[in-house]
Assembly symmetry: C2
Homo-oligomer: 145 residues x 2
């Protein structure tokens, strides 16, 4: 049982097979997946799975603060991240992949924002957009999925 399913159970919500599977994907993938990606990944296992169920589950997890919404990656869809620690995401504007980037100073900056802004910080989205090394190398080739 992982952090997300634990959180659902602790809140008295039901652990349906669909929810458990969605939580598993969110915790195990480094994909920062969208609702549609999760849906497609689970379809073989749950042939009657509805996209609406994926969205509903993601909204539950998001509103409980168990996952973060990262915004779109140039593909028009919301990406989700189960890693709640403040960190940097790198989005490739060509292949739309999202990867993490380690930068210790982010912690200090979040503290500074909290102290100097007067805001009660609930979350962060620190995203850099650019061409990933792979797409840069591929030059004018088609996007490497």
């Amino acid at each position: 049982m992982n952090r997300l399913t634990e959180g659902l159970k602790a809140a008295g919500l039901r652990l349906t097979p669909q929810r458990v599977a969605i939580c598993k994907i969110l915790e195990e993938s480094k994909d920062h997946p969208t609702a549609l990606m999760i849906y497609h990944q689970l379809l073989p296992q749950f042939p009657t799975l509805s996209l609406a169920t994926v969205y509903k589950t993601l909204n539950v997890l998001k509103s409980m603060g168990l996952v973060h919404a990262l915004g779109d990656a140039g593909d028009g869809a919301e990406h989700f991240d189960a890693d709640l620690t403040p960190h940097i995401n790198l989005v490739c504007t060509k292949c739309h992949r999202v990867v993490d980037f380690d930068e210790a100073r982010i912690q200090e900056i979040q503290r500074a924002v909290e102290q100097r802004s007067g805001y009660v910080i609930q979350g962060a989205r620190i995203v850099y957009y650019g061409l990933c090394p792979q797409c840069r190398a591929n030059g004018s080739l088609k996007e490497s999925a």
Copy 2:
């Protein structure tokens, strides 16, 4: 003539009154406005203005790299920013306003990302979500527009 209209002209694009007005709003407002906000702001001046024209102009400016898209502020709409220097945006999850936050270390971090990631960085979106001091004070009152 401002930076945005200059950019359009330099690219050989036409400076229509609508475009000039949209550029003016983007450069002068601290609003980080959405397409709809710009549309409403210009409607008195251009009664036949179409929302599609606003979207088209924003897409032109964005694809030329003259403005940045900030993502939605919890209101489901894209916010735009004519300030291209790396900086922090603070989004209030209650009133959906977006403000800037000064933090010098952001410059260094962008440099670190560029050097260590191998990405060609095209832009950044550094957004903190939380309750602004005003909404925090207003407690359970309705959102202060």
